[in-house]
Amino acid sequence: MPSVEILSRIQFAFTVAFHYIYPPLSIGLGLCLVIMEGIYLKTGLPVYRDITRFWIKIFALIFGIGVATGIVMEFEFGTNWATYSHYVGDIFGSALAAEGIFAFALESGFLGVLLFGWNRVSKGVHFFSTIMVALGSIFSALWIVIANSWQQTPAGFRIEGHDLGARAVVTDFWEMVFNPSSVDRFSHVIIGSFLAGSFLVMSVGAWYILKGRYIKHAQAMFKVGLSVAVVAALMQLFTGHRSAEYVSKYQPAKLAAMEGHYDSLAVADMYLIGWVDNKNEKTTGIKIPGGLSFLTHGSFSAPVQGLHATPPADRPGAVNFVFQTYHFMVAIGITLIGLTLLAVFLLWKKQLFNHRWLMWIFVLAVLLPQVANQLGWYAAEVGRQPWVVYGLLRTSDALSKKVTADQVLFSLILFTFVYVLLFALFLFLLNRKISHGPDVTEDEATDSEHFSKRNIANIPS
């Protein structure tokens, strides 16, 4: 049987990766909802009310699964990683407590008003609740990313005790919160989330356009999604670069793994695609010679610290995995920029919705930011190995001492079963919601001048 360490790592990776399908969608959709409802309040156009209410229902579905799968993570620290919990509790704990009290309570409290309050509260109060839910989900991400960033670049602490009884104790709260990577990683994560949510909105809009249903609604939601996506895609280039900069400074072994760079005395290349043979320590592929040297030191001939500078026991083993996940993420990021810029250009030419092939691409493109978000985290977390707290606590030391492999295997099987079921149900219900479409309100149905015939024919009875 695999060891407790491997099983616990698989379980944590699996549960967090599954969970991470949902929060980025909630965060991105939250922003889109604020925009949609804001336009409705400003203009009074019924079409924006309809799409707001349509997306609120999908938001509820996504948010519900996000909450249910998120609680698992919190308690897994205690169940599977008791030594880690003891080690970081003084620091991680306050971030988690702040998340609960400032963020999670905010979003969950106002969610009730968002979902059920449409006829109960005034338009203004409802809009306020939408903003609070959106803000709450962003704050949530903020505190969680702060806690994770502290694990990557610990700061504002000192170590008390020794061996497995050691723990990190906070010495400066703000230094801990604004540790060297917090800001860059948070902005990178949040913008990735905006992309995930906005591409879902565009995907559904594009689907309706292709099917000739709810044309007006579909175009309205597509434009909202596109306005978020184009800004986010461009900003992601910037935050991505900033994140790479912090990695080069604070986690050189991770950066070296990302580019498959071994020799510290050599100029570092930047690969477009490639393959790392970790056994023979050789990287092959299409590259920009000296590219990484230029990015980190501003010179094509400057040497960059390679994997050799770190003892084998202290550096990530899965170099090719880190290399590939990182490169695919970057490739997707570039694709998203091209795609959104093209769409904006065609929108400006008033031809966007006539290109069926492009609409098809947007239907499928919902997967791109999702995949990129996942891959980015894989690169970040696998690249951090063998450390759970960088340079301080090894993953293999962080386990619960009394938990056995049988127990973890049991829970892993349980979660696999439950999550597969959950995912199938999610896709099924999402599909049903989308095929049902927005409820077109009556005062608009009478407003037939602005309403295409095709659209009326498709109103579900």
């Binding site: 699964i65 008791a82 988690l96 906070v170 219900l429």
Partner: protein, 344 residues
């Protein structure tokens, strides 16, 4: 040791966690109780009504669990690790139940098919009972004490948790949540469903009174360390007295159909019981049943003073905020529950 108003910081944080757990019990208690009673309602409309009675608030209520968990992690990380890794299997089942409960509430109304709704009704009811039962089981074991050795390692096995005392506490928790939930629902409903619930409330109160008496006796006889504190501080006897008076008041208010007052009293009794539990435990969090010297006290488990001070500040700023929007949401959805197109 540093103190605020005469109490040291770990004691303050112990109180904060106690307050959060009480808040969780008072709030999520009624929606878990409502879930446990769900299958008593037969008609589709009744089921929708009772589900929508908790609809806008259950998620916010559950947040108190997340915050309490975070507070334990933050304040007493040693206990967090020991507690959760000790109760590994029960907590995993607890988490899966939480997932099933959340999706049952969320998914049920999404399709009109009878089998679909029935499936989620059962899932909702069973998971609500499971969650309550497991919470009670953990509580019962904490009161009873756990076989913990010098290195703070648990030396029992899965069966250790299923001792008669812990099972009794689990049933008591279930009965209290069911009573709490039934009173909440009777406040939120009208007409025939209301009439049905008035009967249900009566039965729940009988169930709870029975469990309450059994638990009191069992605790006095089998768990002497829980009553230790009363010997040194006889004035604490006011608490069990309040609990008994409150219980009588619940019965009296139910009989005279003053359900709002009854609900307040069921909140009070929940708080009273948890305060009694906290007094019995203090200054320990995990009591070792093998050797009292192996118990984990709040002082051994606490985070640094600096961290505790930061978190007390966070709690002091955050709590009024959380309470204010909790009140706002409950106020928005006050009165009898009505179904509309946005309902579950």
């Amino acid at each position: 040791m540093e103190t605020i108003l005469g109490l040291d910081l770990p004691t303050w944080w112990f109180l904060v966690i106690g307050g959060l757990i009480t808040g969780y019990g008072v709030l999520d208690g009624f929606d878990l109780g409502a879930g446990a009673l769900h299958l008593f309602f037969n008609k589709e409309e009744s089921r929708r009504l009772v589900l929508n009675a908790i609809g806008p608030v259950w998620d916010g209520n559950e947040v108190w669990l997340v915050i309490a968990g975070g507070a334990l992690f933050a304040g007493f990380p040693l206990v967090y690790g020991v507690l959760f890794s000790t109760f590994y299997i029960p907590f995993m089942l607890f988490l899966v139940s939480l997932i099933f409960r959340a999706i049952s509430i969320e998914f049920r109304s999404k399709e009109p098919w009878a089998w679909w709704r029935k499936m989620w009704d059962i899932s909702y009811c069973v998971s609500s009972i499971f969650i309550t039962f497991l919470l009670g089981l953990v509580l019962g074991n904490l009161i009873h004490g756990l076989p913990v050795n010098k290195a703070h390692e648990f030396t029992g096995n899965l069966l250790t948790f299923f001792n008669p005392y812990a099972i009794l506490i689990a049933f008591t928790t279930l009965s209290l949540f069911m009573l709490h939930g039934a009173i909440y629902l009777v406040m939120k409903t009208e007409n025939r469903l209301y009439a049905k619930l008035t009967v249900l409330v009566n039965n729940c109160s009988k169930f709870f009174i029975l469990c309450f008496i059994l638990t009191s006796m069992a605790t006095l006889i089998y768990v002497p360390h829980m009553t230790q504190a009363f010997k040194h501080h006889p004035e604490l006897f006011i608490l069990p007295l309040i609990a008994v008076l409150t219980l009588l008041n619940i019965k009296r208010n139910i009989d005279s159909r003053k359900y709002f007052t009854a609900f307040l009293f069921s909140c009070i009794i929940m708080s009273c019981l948890l305060i009694l539990f906290a007094i019995g435990l203090y200054p320990n969090i995990i009591i070792s049943s093998t050797d009292p010297a192996n118990s984990i006290s709040i002082y051994a488990a606490a985070s640094s003073n600096k961290s505790l001070k930061i978190m007390l500040l966070i709690a002091a700023i955050g709590t009024p905020l959380v309470i204010s929007y909790t009140v706002f949401v409950f106020w928005t959805f006050r009165g009898k529950v009505k179904l509309n197109e946005m309902s579950y």
